[in-house]
Structures are given as structure tokens and as C-alpha cells.
Assembly symmetry: C2
Homo-oligomer: 309 residues x 2
């Protein structure tokens, strides 16, 4: 095999109480990436979208991830990559992780799967560092593994695949810019121990709820008094979106990643569509452009052309 096309999914990180550890993959939107092995060394990138992302591999997230992998195999080949991004950069649903993970999963496939998933995550995280300083796997983990994931530790990297029930997701992406760096800066350096206890009680309950398929418990544990209250100020109409989504039957939800997207979980697709209508009603009057996705959890991570997608 000399060429492959892959579809890395959008992902939601910072799942309410699970700040900096819990994430999940979405069925929609996905990017499309076609990778070819080349005799010429190095990485050549073409963007078939119009987001203006750099084609220079050392400044491109997918490029940096591929270069890290090429270093590990002593540049025995080169890569040619065509990227069609559908996951808008900066929308808060793991656009940069999709680029990094898609590239390394495609490359590993062409190299006959010689790397472990944890190694692929490490290469992808190198790409991620172009977009944000520091090591983060919040979006890389669910994009690569699919489903719900928990990053127990970044150093050493420890990714836990969680059991979860079938569940529907509604995401609204207001077309405004929230810089991850700004969103990080607003966070408190310290939190009351009491808030910590509440947070880890909720995270434990959330993981238990997913494992049991207990949607009532899931709803009760989707609570965050640490990050949401400060970051929601960056997202117009956040409270209205949440209130109306819950009224429409959503189990709960919150800020996706560091925003501006907002996600809501629902028991089934028809409720998720009602939630979409409720979000639409809130934003329709706002004068802010927005997209809404009604989708479900992607349980397998990156998909391949030819496979059922």
C-alpha cells in the first residue's frame, strides 16, 4: 500500500467536571487526509481547504507529527500529504489534534503498523505542541482511540479507554474566536479543597455512570464549579444555550475544550435534534454566525477510506 485516505474525527475535551482529562470523539465532523509514501525525503503538504494553514511542515501540526515519526524511523521514506479540513481551526472540537492524529495513523498504516497507539499518541502530541505550548493529550486521546477516554497522566502518558453507552451529542459552534492561551490564563492557580472534592466525586461518578449506562447519574455528575464559571464569560449566550438545552431534554453538557463550541449529551438522536433546535433559537437572534452538529460518539477513532464510514 502506497497511499491511504483517513478521516480523523472532531473531539470534545474537558468534559464538564473532567477538566484536562476526559474527552470523547464525534462521528461528525471529520477531516479528510490522503497520505502517500515518497522516495523524496521529508514531508510535503497541500491544503485543499481555505483555512490558510501553513504548508511548511515544520509549522504545520500534521507536518511536525510526521517529522517526529520520520525521525524515529531514520527518514527511510518521505511523505506527501493532502489535507481537506472540515473541522474548523479554533472551534474548540480538536481541529489540531485531528490533523496530528490523522497524519500519524495514516503513516503508521502505510508503514505496516509498526507503532503502538501510545507511541502514535506521542508523535501526535509533538504536532499538538505547535498549536499550544505544553504537552496535552485531551483531544489526541479520543481522536486516536475513539469513544470516551481519560488521560490519567501525561508524563508518563497513560490513556484509559472508558466503557460508555450509546449516546447522542449536539454541538454548537459560534463563529467567534477564543484563544486557548487566553482561556488558560483565566483559570485560577489554586482552588478550594472543597471544590476539588466535589470535582473528583463528579468525575468518579461520571466514569461509573458511563460504565453502567446510568444516564440519570451521568446527568447529575455533569457539573463543574471550577472552570465553567470563568470560561463561560468568553462565550456569548452560554447560560441560555445550557438552560434551553436542558429544557429540551439534554442530560447535560458544557464548554467543548476551551470553547467557543458548546456540547450537550442526550439519550437519543431525536432529543439531540430538539436540543439543536433549542440552541438554534438562542443563537438565531444573536447576530453571530454559528453551526450546529447533531451526531453521536465515534467509537473507533480515525476511519479509513474503503472501510464503512
Amino acid at each position: 500500500m502506497n497511499e491511504i485516505t483517513v478521516f480523523p474525527p472532531a473531539t470534545v475535551a474537558n468534559v464538564v467536571c473532567g477538566f484536562d482529562c476526559l474527552g470523547f470523539a464525534l462521528d461528525d465532523p471529520v477531516d479528510a487526509m490522503t497520505l502517500r509514501l515518497t522516495d523524496e525525503k521529508g514531508v510535503r503538504i497541500t491544503h485543499l481547504d481555505d483555512y490558510g494553514l501553513p504548508a511548511d511542515p515544520e509549522r504545520n501540526i500534521a507536518g511536525v507529527a510526521l517529522l517526529a515519526m520520520l525521525d524515529a524511523i531514520h527518514h527511510e521514506t518521505g511523505f506527501e500529504l493532502e489535507i481537506t479540513k472540515k473541522i474548523k481551526p479554533g472551534s474548540g472540537v480538536g481541529s489540531s489534534s485531528a490533523s496530528a492524529v490523522g497524519a500519524v495513523v495514516a503513516a503508521d498504516k502505510l508503514l505496516n503498523e509498526r507503532f503502538s497507539r501510545l507511541e502514535l499518541a506521542e508523535f501526535a502530541m509533538r504536532g499538538e505542541q505547535v498549536a499550544s505550548a505544553g504537552r496535552h493529550a485531551d483531544n489526541v486521546a479520543p481522536c486516536l482511540y475513539g469513544g470516551f477516554t481519560l488521560v490519567r497522566s501525561v508524563d508518563p502518558l497513560d490513556i484509559v479507554e472508558l466503557e460508555f453507552p450509546e449516546i447522542a451529542v449536539t454541538v454548537i459552534h459560534p463563529q467567534i474566536e477564543v484563544k486557548t492561551a487566553d482561556a488558560r490564563r483565566m483559570l485560577p492557580a489554586e482552588i478550594p479543597l472543597k471544590s476539588g472534592v466535589r470535582a473528583w466525586s463528579n468525575v468518579g461518578a461520571l466514569v461509573a455512570a458511563l460504565a453502567k449506562g446510568d444516564l440519570e447519574l451521568l446527568a447529575r455528575s455533569l457539573e463543574d464549579a471550577i472552570v465553567e464559571p470563568v470560561r463561560k464569560t468568553l462565550i456569548p449566550h452560554f447560560d441560555a444555550v445550557k438552560t434551553e438545552s436542558l429544557r429540551a431534554g439534554a442530560l447535560g453538557g458544557g464548554i467543548s475544550g476551551s470553547g467557543p463550541s458548546i456540547f450537550m449529551l442526550s439519550e437519543n438522536q431525536s432529543t439531540a435534534r430538539r436540543v439543536a433546535a433549542a440552541m438554534d433559537a438562542v443563537y438565531a437572534e444573536s447576530g453571530i454566525d454559528f453551526n450546529i452538529y447533531v451526531t453521536k460518539i465515534n467509537s473507533e477513532g480515525v476511519k479509513f477510506a474503503g472501510a464503512e464510514i
Copy 2:
């Protein structure tokens, strides 16, 4: 039925990273409590042990719990209670919760099970408040439900029963006094957000590990950088007990409740016995009296005379 004998179990609360929320019940030790319905109103208590606990029901943990229940049923009966405590008060394995839970479970049985388990937990917590100010369900929950429990919230009370694999427990109880109030006072009012993230990542991983029966992940997630470092200073030879237990094959463990007991989890009973020998070797030279229990998780909570125990 006019009389019943019950055996409420010892419990471990504050399971390492799960401070103030995670707990589990032990098969051994258990208290023995015999409760009788009486025409005479009120509660009469006899202690058949020599721990010098008050017989006055308003100052006795089991008594206060029973009085709370009698209030709820408009004192339509009275109770006579004989308590033989085997779980030493102040040992850090839920002695007071066992008294409170045993009493209300026995009473509910004699009253033809008219209360829900959550209601019984509320009565028991009223008893617990005699021993410690504030509402806590950390030991009440596992004592009442058995197995591993997570208290998601105290107000309103929300108790989650966790799935868990068969697992062995070793507990060492050094015969020294650690006052819960002192142990609470040492805790920081605030913690770094970073430590919080690490803690809730570990709690999530621990709950996932229990649900999957993944003992390697369980071992990795039994980590606490918030409470253990300050409280272990109250427990002589804590570090040596932990180090030698891990060397003997324990998965991990820490301070039980607010101490002084230390618990360690192991894959099976033979490892738990080797852990006991390692603990014994550490404490034998210390000049401090101690007891060691090798036991397993009690999965059903309070047991009844006549039932298989």
C-alpha cells in the same frame, strides 16, 4: 420478628486519591448488635464490650441514629439494643459508622423494611454527627451498601455503588490515637489546580479500573499528593509500611479514613498475607502495639444472624 442480630462491617474511607468520596466495606472486623422492639418508648443501650462508650442514647452514635428513626415513625415503638463492638473506636476503619448503620438496618428489618437505603443512610449520618461535626457519608455508604461506594454529593445525598473485582485487603491498626478533628485541621484550605487535575484524573482512572477489573491501572491510580503527604506525619512508620507492602506485592493503598490504620489492596489472599508479614516486620520493632487484618471486600454490607456470614 421481635429481635434481630446484625453484623455491621468495618469500612475504609478516603481511598487514596478518593478523599471524602471513595470507600469500601471489609469482611472483617464486624460489630455484633442485637436489637429488640419494646413497648416502652425510647432507646435503651447496653454495651457488652469494654470501650467505655456512653449508654445514654442521646450521646451514643447508635442511639442518636435510632432516635432519628423513631422520630420519623412518631415513636410507635421503643428499642432495646445490645452492642458488642469488635471494631475499635478511633481506629480509622469506620467504627462509629458501623454502630450507626448496624442500628438502623436492624431497626428497619424489625419494622418490615419501610425505609429506602438512602433514608437509612440519612438516619445513620445523624448518628455519625455525634462523633464528628458536619455531614459525612464516607463510611456510612460502604457500610450500608457493601462493596466500593462513591459519595457524589452529601447535600442532597447521592451514593453510587461501584462495580469492582474480587480483591484482598490488608489493614494494620497501630494502637495510637489520631483525632479526626486534628487530621481535618491539617488539610490545606486550597490546592493547586494542577494537583486537582491529577487527583480527579486518578479518581476517574480508579473507578474505571474497578469496573474493568484492570489491576495494573488500579495500582497506577492509587496515588495521592494532596492528603497523604500531610496526614502521614501522624502515623509512625507510614512510609516504611507502604514501601514494604508494595515490595511484598501490594497493588497500593494508604491511610484508612483519617488514620491511624493503613490499608493495602492486593490481587489475592496469599499476597495480602505476605503484605501482612511485611507490615508486621515494620511494626514489630516499633514498640507500638498493633493489629493486622487480612480480609476481603464485603460486597453486601450489614450481615444478619442466621444468614451465611
